[in-house]
Every structure is written in C-alpha cells, then in structure tokens.
C-alpha cells in the first residue's frame, strides 16, 4: 500500500520550528488555531442495486440490504467486503428525496446530493458537498474535488457529475488521474497563476471599495438601520477574507508527494485499477489537506458513459444498466450483486486507507464523513436509496447498525444532520422534514 510522505525539508526550510509537531499537523495548510480538519466525501453509482424478491434463490446472498435491521444485522455477499468496517459504518434504508420519488430513477444522479425538485424542469440547486466546501474550502488550496469516471457534466437528467454550484449549475468532473495529480500536486502553469492572481486582486480591490462604501453609508443611518447594514458589511468582509485566503494559497509551496507510489497509467478500460487510483488521489488530497471535500461519481445513471461498461469488463456479463434490467435471466440478480460487491470492495478499500491514515494520533476516518450509495433502490425506483454512511466518529456519528425506515423518509433529514456534525450552520436542506438524530451518539 503506498504511503504519502511529505517532503519535510521543503517545509522546514521555510519555518524551521515545526520539527516537534506531529508530522501531518505541521504540514497542514490549516491555520494553527483551527481544530482538526473535518472532511466530507461522497461516492455515487447509478442504476440501484440487486434486490431479489424474498422467494428468489438469490435473495439470501445477493440482496444488497441486510435482512435484519439493528446492530445484529448480517451483511449479505453484496456488502460483505465492508465487514471490516462494521463499527465505522451504518447501512441506511428507506431514505429518498421526496419530490423525485415518482420520477424515473435515472434522474437521481442529478439530484442525489442536492435534493432539488426537478419535476417541472431540470433546474438544479447547490449540492451538499459544495455547501460544505463554501466553508471548508476557505482552509485549503483546492476548495473541493469533483471527480467522475466519465468526466465532464454530461447531459441534463443524466449528469456525469454529482456536484452543483450555488446556482445549480453542473460542475465539470475530472476523470483523468494524471491531470488530477498534476493539478493537485504539481501546481498550475506560471501564466495561469499570474492570471488567477490578477482576477483575485481585482476582486479584492472591488470588495475593499465596497466595504468603504458601506461604512460611509453606515455613518449616515439611524441605529436600527445600521444593524441591517451590518449584515452587508459582514457579508462583504467574508467575501474579502475568502479572496485573501485564495490569494494566500497562490504563493505557497505545494506538498511534495512521491509520484512513483501512484499508478497514474490507468484508464477506465481497467476499472479496478482506475477506480483505486481515483480513490488514492482522494485519500492523498485529504492527507495533505489539499482539500477537505470530494465527490466521486463512480458510475453514472442509465447506460451513460464509459463507466456503464465496468461490469462487462470485469466479467459480470453486461453493462451496468443492462445488468439492472437483466434480473429475469438466470443469475441475473447474482451478476448484478457481484458488481454491487465489487463497488463495495472499492469503498471498503477507501475506508481502510482512511482508517490507517493517522493525523496527530487520530484516524483520518474519524474526522471524515463518507457517504456511499445510489439514487434508486432497484433500477427505476427512486425510493429506498441504498446508502452506507461511514466515518465521522469524532464528529458525533454513531455506527454499527442497519437503520431501516418504517416509512419512506426524506434524505434531507440525514443531510441536515451531517451538515450540523460538520459544523455547518443550516436550518434546512432540500425538503427535509427534520433531523436524523438516530445516527448521533
């Protein structure tokens, strides 16, 4: 297993004092007074999971959801690879975004993380990761990492990204490991950096002017009005501090990582290696505190993209969408379940990496909230999303159970609670109806 050593020399040349500190804290780009960083990541795959009916021969082994809920649940073969992480994860059933329940589930890649109401048209809204990145992104050089196996944004209703910005616009996902590595750890070209600098500087100038403008207006107002204007001032100050931080990163040294430990010669034609490298990049980005927020769409919905071919390449017979429609065939459920198992293996690998990564005596996993799942249970049924929530023990998450809902419940409940545990203030998320306190200690 590769391990990522920061080049201490680079850093120590500059500071000369950091020797006594645990290694990652010293290397961290975070302000020293900050608590240990919290992190968030999400992994999505399309087309749902194999859920054979009770009488079916494959029911016992290849039913993604465990057959019993509570703490004594038994993982079926579909999720068996996650067994080592039982104490660090919760299997969740019966959650979905209410406004999409009646839509064909193939749309849910668009709204899995946003919960937007797309019944009328496909106007999306901010996704959970981007909401988190608005805050966490201030502390890192890269505000968030948006990855997918296919890359880009794809088409509306079948996006190949699961991240959406504040205006609901799809954020293009990166899919080329080499380019991702270069961007994260080898820095932008000089001219890119110069133009970025210029943009930030002009933003600063603008905001500085406006702050002065607001202050002079404030002097002319009555007291009650001043309080209202203070919200303008505070907002502007925060916008300014975001710009300042962004400028700060420009000049800083990049963490040095050992490229040879990473297999960058991969392509989606070899799914196992490719996905592992993508996961390695995420772990590396977390370890070096290059970013604290990441999403990865492992597979898109429907038959979209190169990722649909993954199960075929792996020898499970068909493309992913085809598998999801092939349950009438002999071994249909089993084949689909085998691919579910493959995906669970990948997630398990990621969790293992985070669990073995140590940050100042703490497992990285315990400060990281990781969500894994799909937006449909079976192919077209946008209810009862198959979900695994892992990590975040230090953030107050309690694990070790399969929590099934008696009635379908808004996924926004869980998202809101996740936001709160990540210390992001929010009153609501999408059409949540409350919070999800069962997941808390």
């Amino acid at each position: 297993m590769p391990s990522w050593k920061l080049n201490r020399r680079t850093l120590l040349r500059g500071t000369g004092v950091a020797l006594a500190l645990p290694w990652l804290e010293a290397m961290s780009h975070a302000a020293p007074t900050e608590d240990r960083p919290r992190r968030f990541c999400a992994f999505f795959f399309g087309n749902g999971v194999s859920l054979p009916p009770e009488k079916h021969a494959a029911y016992r082994d290849w039913h993604w959801f465990p057959h019993e809920d509570g703490a004594d649940y038994r993982l079926t073969r579909s999720l068996e690879p996650l067994k080592p992480h039982r104490k660090d994860m919760t299997v969740l059933g019966g959650l979905s975004h209410p406004t999409s329940r009646k839509l064909v589930g193939h749309n849910t890649g668009d709204i899995w993380l946003s919960g937007a109401d797309i019944r009328r048209n496909l106007d999306n809204s901010i996704s959970l990761d981007q909401l988190i990145a608005r805050k966490f992104g201030l502390h890192t050089r890269v505000p968030s990492l948006v990855l997918s196996s296919h890359g880009g944004v794809g088409i509306k209703s079948r996006t190949t990204t699961i991240s959406f910005d504040g205006q609901g616009r799809a954020i293009p996902a990166e899919s080329n490991p080499r380019q991702i590595f270069e961007r994260l750890f080898e820095g932008p070209a000089e001219e890119d950096e110069a133009s970025r600098k210029k943009v930030l500087a002009s933003g600063r100038r603008r905001v500085d002017f406006l702050l002065e403008d607001a202050r002079s207006l404030r002097n002319r107002l009555g007291r009650a009005d001043q309080q209202r204007l203070d919200e303008f001032l505070q907002s502007l100050s925060e916008v300014e501090s975001r710009l300042v931080r962004a400028e700060d990163w420009l000049g800083r040294a990049l963490p040095e990582v050992d490229r040879s430990k990473l297999n960058l010669d991969v392509s989606p034609k070899g799914p196992s290696d490719y996905i592992r490298t993508m996961l390695d990049l995420m772990v590396l980005a977390f370890e070096t505190d290059t970013t604290r927020v990441a999403t990865y769409q492992i597979g898109a919905e429907d038959g979209v993209g190169v990722c649909d071919r993954f199960p075929a390449i792996l020898g499970f017979g068909k493309g992913h969408h085809g598998l999801s429609h092939g349950t009438g065939k002999p071994d249909g459920y089993a084949n689909w379940g085998k691919y579910d198992r493959f995906l669970a293996e990948q997630f398990s690998y990621f969790l293992t990496r985070l669990a073995s990564s140590n940050e100042g005596g703490h497992r990285l996993l315990d400060d990281t909230v990781a969500l894994f799942g799909s937006g449909t249970s079976t192919t077209h049924n946008a209810r009862n999303y198959p979900l695994v929530l892992a990590g975040g023990k230090n953030l107050g998450l309690r694990h070790g159970r399969f929590i099934r809902q008696p009635d379908e419940r808004p996924l926004g409940d869980l998202y809101l609670t996740m936001l709160h545990q990540l210390d992001i203030p929010a009153k609501a998320f999408a059409d949540n109806s409350g919070e999800f306190s069962e997941i808390l200690t």
């Binding site: 496909l122 088409i155 100038r205 603008r206 009555g222 009005d225 209202r228 204007l229």
Partner: protein, 828 residues
C-alpha cells in the same frame, strides 16, 4: 378588530375568577395575576401574560371544581390579551428605513439601468415573507456572503453584456421551412440585411451545414402541416414532451447569451363560419342556454429550450400571439437567451441540444369539431440579433463624446450619470472622486477604456447604495426623507423600480414634497403600465395567492384542475384588483362586485359562456353566476381548501387575517389540523366535523370566532366550483351524500347562509374593519416594514378622509403617499 377594551373592564373578571388561587392569598404555579403589569408595552410580564392566554385558550383554567368562566368572560379576557399583545408587538417594531431591494426590485432596476431585458434576479434566492405576508419587508431581506458574491458576479456579467468591446460577433441567420413531406425540413441561409451590423455566419457550405439542425416535430404521415390546438405534455418525469402537433427544430449550436429574433410567417386555417351557429350548452344542468360561439383564434406560441435524455425543457417566449388572420403574416418575437433553458456545457449531442418549437396553444376542446388551426410557412432565426453596433445598451452608458472630452473627463461623466441613476440621487463630489480613483487604477490594469468602465460600474451595481433603499440622517440626527428619498420610496412602492426622470426632476426642484404634486404623481404612476408591479406584488402577497401553488389538488376529484387553470385563477385576482385600483373604484368592490376578469380557461371553469381566447377581459356578472368579489375567486377558494374539500377554518382565518386584519391567537402547540379525510370525521357533514374538531382540541373559544366565517364559503368546493348546481353539484354528488351546509352563526350572533349573505353582512357590519385593514396593508407594503405603533396610527387616521372621499382604491393609495409629507425634512 373590535373597539379597544380597557384593562378596567377585564380586571374585575380576573379578580373574580383567578385571584383566588393566583393572588395575595395563594400563588399557585408561582403566578400572581394581581402583580402582573397590565401594560404589555412597557411592562416586563409579556411572557407570563402569554401563558395566561394559552391557559385560557386551552380551557384548562379555571380548573375543574372552580366556578367556570362564562363564555363571554373568557372571550373578553382573551380578546383583551390578544389586543394588548398585538399592540406590544407593534411597539417593538423599530422604525427602520434601510432595506435591501427585493429580488424583483433588483431585477427591474438592473433592467432599467442597463437597458437589458434579462432576468437578473433568477439566480438569487427567493425573499422570505414577513408575518404580515409581504416580501418587501426589510426584516426578511437578509444578506449573506453567498448572496453578495452573486451580486458581484451578476454585475460583472451584466456589464459584459451591456458594454461591448471590439467588432460585432458573427450572426446566425437562417430560415426553416417544412418540406413537402412530413418530417422533412429545409434550411436556407439568409443574407445580412444592409442596415444591420455583424457578419453572417457561414453556417452552410454547399455540402452540409456547419452544425446539425434537424426536425423534431414527429408529424404523422397524413399531416398537411396544419397545427391543431396542442399543449406541452407533462409526464411523470422531469421535463416535458413536445406538444403533439408542433414544428420543432433541434440544433447543435446556439448562443447562450444575447437577444435572438424569431420571425414566423403564419396564418390561421379552418373555417371561421361558426359565429352564427347556436350551440346548446349542455353543461349547465337542466338549463339549456343558447349561446353564439365566437370564432376561436389560433394561438401562436414560440418556445426555446433544450433536449435531455427523456424529452425537452421548454420555456415559451412571452405571451401567445393571437392569430385571427387567414392570410399569411409575419410575426416577430425577441427573446433573451439567458432566460431560456439551455443545454449543459458539454459537447452537443441530440440529447444535449438547443430546441426551437412553434405550436398552436389555443385551448383544446374535446367537443370542438372544427378547431382553429395554424399553418406555418416558415420560421426565421437570427442569433444574436443586433440592431446596431455597439448596441443601445452600450451607447446609453457610453454616450457619444460629442464635446471631445479628455478620456478621464469622459469617464467621469459616464460614471457620474450611471451612478446617480443607480443611487437615485446626485452624487457628491467626494463620492465621485472616490469612484474616479477606483477607475484610474482599473484603467492602469486594462487595455481598453471600456473594460475599465465595466470594472468601475460593476462596483456601483454592487454598492449597498444601489442594493438597498435608505433614508439618511439629516444634520439634526433625525432620519427624515429628503426629496430624492421620497421619490425612491414612491417609485419602489408603485413600480418596484427606479424613479423615472419626471420624479427625479421634481425632486431636484424640491417640488415633489408639495402634497398636491405628490398626489398628482401618484395618480400618474398608477395610470402608467409599470403600476402592474404594485398590483401584482401587493395583491399576490396580500391575498396570499401563492397558496394556490402549495395546495395539492385531488386530481381524481377535480380532473379539470391543471397548471393552466391555476395560472388563470391567479390572474383573475390580479386583473380584478388592478381594475379597482386603476379605475379608482370603491374598495368595497373587493368584497362584492358585479364584474370580474376572465379568459377562456377560467370562464369555462366558471361555466360562463362567450369568453374566448387567452387574454383577460372585464366580464359583467349577474346573480346566476354566483361570483363577484375576491371571496368568490377560484384563486382564493382553492388556496384555502385542503385540495379535497373547502376548509372552513382556513377560509375563516384567511378572511379574518387578510381582509379584517383580525388575528386570532395561534392554535396551541401540537394541535392537528382539521382533516376532512380523517376516518373519524369522514362520514360526517362539515358542521358535525367541525364540532368534533373543536371538541377534540378544547379550542372552542377561538374556533367559534373563526369557523363560522369559513362555513359560509361552503357553497364552493376545493377548486372554487359553485356546488349548489351545475358541474360543482355533480362533482359533489360523486363524493358525498350530504347537502351543502353553509349556514353559520357569526360571532356577533347574526346568522348567514352562504356567500351572498356573508358578503352582505361584511358590507353591513365590517366595512370599517375592512377599510382599516386595507389601509394598514397598503401602508406596510409601501413602507417595506412591519408597521410600528406610530405607522399603524397614521394608517388608521386616514380612514375618515378615505370614507369622506368615497372609499376609492386609487384615493387610498394617494392618501398613504401624501401621509409621508410629515416625514420630509424641512430644509432641502
């Protein structure tokens, strides 16, 4: 609200029933009512009084075993508490002047300043509603870093659109014609008109076009190319399918910004000779009505959009065009591409392409043997559409430098003109100096004057002085209106936008403060089409028309209810209010009127014949229609239903809160709503159901004052059908055996049966309350804040004059505006 109740009237009741346990001898629950300060405004016992009110409402005080409180006494106590709590609440409201522009106000101001018809506000989050129901209440108009970033970004992008640099872009111009056979399409390049800028984009070579254009219409084989009425088809899926009959084109290259011009050469086909034909209207049960059917026009709808995996997203361009002519004519439509749904930013494909669709959106009628048809000869598309280069938006800001000013003098003048319009007042020299300092730095960083001005003006558009409305302190330290602030308050009140030149001139000359001039301007502004903004915002928010969107109507019970009908319902109320305002009619028309506004869709719903076409027009009403006044508007009746049936409690609350400004106390916590589908009440009649609900929740006291009002609405069902006869009666028979019960004993003891009697009773006994309520509502909207005690008194004081002048709506607005005269600074 009832006349005010003095403490001296309630004190003896408290003493008699409560002090025994909560007084000098005993203080159960550590509560001594005799010690509570009856002054809820200045005293500190507000919270304890609230507890007292809750106990009284719950009915658990006095407890069993103690002499019971007579109903009148209990109501006297709760009325007094409600009244004092309301006053205390008003007294808490601060007199604020500064508020952020609403999303709509921001959008209109930006459009006006830049001369660009772009939906600038669509990206901003929706503004919240105050407790009084208004979205322009400063308390709710918050600011956040995210929102500020959006203002900065929108300003930057808007100025890039308004101020251009360099030569005009290439223009796509082409004509699309239906081929001789169905599903064929010919595309012809169009040459650039002599008088227009921009090179034509050579999209087609001899062999093939530069990008793919294809026919998406999917015509049937036997199609003649005529388009019968058709509609966008929704299916249980995101987005929509194209109308069954349409002319639709998909294309792989489209501009995401800028204006596009669509020209359609079209005529109406199908025989027109239906006007003499008598049609027996069989829909009105038992009563044959002879009506002459007017010729139905075809409706040309043009829409832009994009494809996705399932179908399309489409947004129609403006309102449908009425096509009556049998000869071909050319119609031009302009559209801002920014407002249209566009494909994702990824490589074009047939499922990620732009769409242009044209169809006939005349109402589809099952019983129409000869529907109006539309024949489209060709469609031309020009994008971007450039009338001049640079465009008017550019030259409006960067005026022609006739005087040969030096670059910095010119820039100073550009910035001065722009900023003083944006800030709605002249700039001081020092303000302008600061902006020019900013400009000089910007100029050093860029190659062109234009981009330095873009940069500088973007600061103006993100300034709190543009984004917010303020009243500055005068030298004496008091916040009083100066002439410009008065002009701005007036224009945002009636137009939701910047003051126009006339207002600014009057402000400059310090004439607007003259009450006569102010009144005259108010009347002018109401006459101006821009007052639609006041009509739409105020009436929508006051009457809570957005409830329509929140009700989930039972489609099985009311299959005719759809989005189109809901939209028509809303517009009836807006047009109706607009008419009362603009024609300066009596405010009591709102409670009952002999006219309303209908289009074909809504008239069908109301079973009123002879209304055809999509536009709204004034229609006279008589007794047989059972309509008149907002209480009978389907918008209100639907919004106050639960989607299955009318809901007396919701309807009663709506009436009290909005029309009478009477706020019954909120229900005690955890009380379920009356659910007519609840098995417990399902088989019961509405009066029985209400009785059960009251009994269950021990809230008889309040409900006795709410429910009867709503019960009188029972003649109308969940979508506003009259259910004593006609379609409504038929629908009712299908779901219940109970006859309509609309008889109610109002809190005053008077019994009314049905809407007509309710309206009469309101006009007879509640006219003062209604007048006062409306004055307060308009005042709150006009000031953009929760009314203070003083504001409330000012609004109330206008009632007498209003009454003397005949209670007219236009006068009411005028009185509200002229009441501000006392707030104006003495010295200019």
């Amino acid at each position: 609200m009832e006349a005010s109740i003095p403490f001296s009237r309630v004190a003896p009741v408290f003493q008699k029933h409560c002090h025994h346990c909560h007084g000098p001898k005993k203080s159960k629950g550590e509560l001594r009512l005799d010690r509570l300060n009856p002054d809820l405004i200045n005293g500190k016992d507000g919270d304890r009084w609230r507890e007292v009110l809750d106990r009284l409402n719950f009915g658990d005080m006095p407890p069993e075993g103690e002499p019971p409180l007579a109903l009148e006494d209990r109501e006297l106590l709760t009325d007094w508490l409600v009244q004092e709590r309301r006053r205390a609440e008003l007294a808490k409201n601060p007199t604020t002047h500064f508020r952020r522009l609403t999303r709509r106000e921001y959008e209109l101001s930006m459009q006006e300043l830049l001369g660009l018809n772009i939906e600038f506000g669509s990206r901003l989050p929706e503004d919240g509603r105050s407790r009084g129901g208004f979205r322009n209440n400063g308390e709710m108009l918050r600011m956040s870093p995210l929102q500020y970033e959006m203002y900065l970004q929108i300003a930057e992008e808007a100025l890039e659109e308004a101020i251009v640099i360099g030569p005009p872009p290439e223009v796509h111009r082409y004509r699309l014609e239906r081929g001789d056979k169905p599903n064929t399409l010919t595309t012809t390049s169009l040459a650039k008109p002599e008088n227009r800028p921009g090179e034509s984009f050579a999209y087609a070579t001899d062999n093939r076009p530069a990008f793919r254009i294809w026919n998406m219409s999917g015509e049937k084989k036997e199609s003649t190319g005529e388009l019968p009425p058709s509609a966008i088809r929704r299916f249980s899926e995101a987005a929509v399918k194209l109308p069954e009959h349409c002319l639709a084109i998909g294309f792989h290259r489209a501009f995401r910004t800028g204006e596009a011009l669509v020209r359609v050469h079209v005529c109406r086909t199908g025989t027109l000779a239906r006007q003499e034909q008598d049609v027996k209207d069989t829909r009105r049960a038992g009563v044959p009505v002879l009506q002459s059917a007017p010729p139905r026009p075809a409706l040309l709808t043009v829409a832009f959009g994009c494809t996705n995996r399932h179908g399309v997203e489409l947004t129609p361009v403006g309102e449908p065009v009425v096509i009556e002519n049998k000869d071909f004519q050319t119609y031009e439509l302009r559209v801002r591409m920014e407002s249209m749904p566009l494909p994702n930013m990824s490589p074009p494909s047939d499922r990620n392409a732009a769409v242009l669709a044209v169809w006939n959106s005349a109402r589809m009628r099952k019983d129409d043997p000869n529907p109006p048809k539309l024949k489209v000869e060709w469609i031309e598309l020009e994008t971007p559409f450039l009338e001049t280069w640079p465009p008017a938006s550019h030259t409006n800001i960067l005026f022609t430098n006739h005087r040969g000013l030096s670059e910095s003098d010119y820039a100073r003048e550009v910035v001065r003109r722009f900023a003083s319009r944006a800030f709605r007042r002249p700039l001081s020299d020092s303000e302008l100096d600061r902006l020019m300092k900013y400009w000089r730095e910007a100029r050093q960083n860029t190659d062109t004057l234009e981009s330095s001005l873009r940069d500088t003006l973007s600061v103006v558009l993100a300034s709190p002085q543009f984004l917010g409305l303020a009243v500055a302190r005068s030298s004496g330290g008091q916040q009083r209106l100066d002439d410009y602030e008065l002009a701005a308050r007036l224009s945002y009140f009636l137009w939701s936008s910047l003051p126009d030149e006339t207002l600014l001139k009057l402000a400059e000359k310090s004439q607007l403060r003259n009450p006569k001039v102010l009144a005259e301007q108010t009347r002018r502004m109401i006459r101006d089409p821009r007052s639609w903004e006041f009509i739409a915002q105020f009436a929508e928010q006051w009457l809570e028309l957005d409830r329509l969107e929140r009700v989930t109507v039972d489609q099985r019970r009311y299959p005719e209810f759809d989005e189109e009908l809901a939209a028509a319902m809303r517009l009836e109320s807006l047009h109706f209010f607009g008419e009362v305002l603009r024609h300066n009619e009596s405010i009591f028309q709102i409670l009952n009127s002999k006219f309303t506004f209908l289009n074909e869709t809504l008239a069908d719903h109301y079973e009123i014949p002879d209304v055809s076409g999509p536009h709204f027009r004034r229609v006279s009403l008589d007794e047989s229609h059972h309509r008149g006044g907002v209480l009978t508007h389907a918008s209100i009746l639907t919004g106050t239903s639960d989607g299955h049936d009318g809901h007396p409690t919701k309807r009663g609350m709506w009436l009290l809160r909005n029309l009478l400004d009477d706020l019954p106390p909120p229900p005690p916590p955890n009380v379920p709503e009356l659910d007519r589908e609840d098995p417990k009440v399902r088989g019961l009649s509405i009066t029985e159901a209400l009785a059960v609900h009251r009994e269950n929740t021990a809230c008889a006291g309040c409900h006795r004052r709410i429910d009867p009002w709503g019960l009188a609405f029972e003649e109308y069902d969940a979508v506003g059908n009259w259910q004593r006869d006609g379609i409504g009666a038929e629908l009712r028979r299908r779901r219940t055996k109970h006859p309509v019960q609309a008889e109610a004993e109002l809190p005053s003891g008077v019994t009314v049966n049905g809407m007509k009697e309710l309206q009469a009773e309101l006009l007879r006994t509640k006219n003062d309350d209604f007048r006062r309520a409306l004055l307060r509502k308009v005042m709150a909207y006009a000031l953009g804040r929760s009314l203070t005690l003083n504001d409330t008194e000012v609004a109330d004081s206008l009632a007498t004059t209003l009454q003397q002048r005949g209670d007219r709506m236009g006068d009411l607005v005028e009185l509200v505006v002229t009441s501000w005269v006392v707030e104006i600074t003495k010295n200019k």
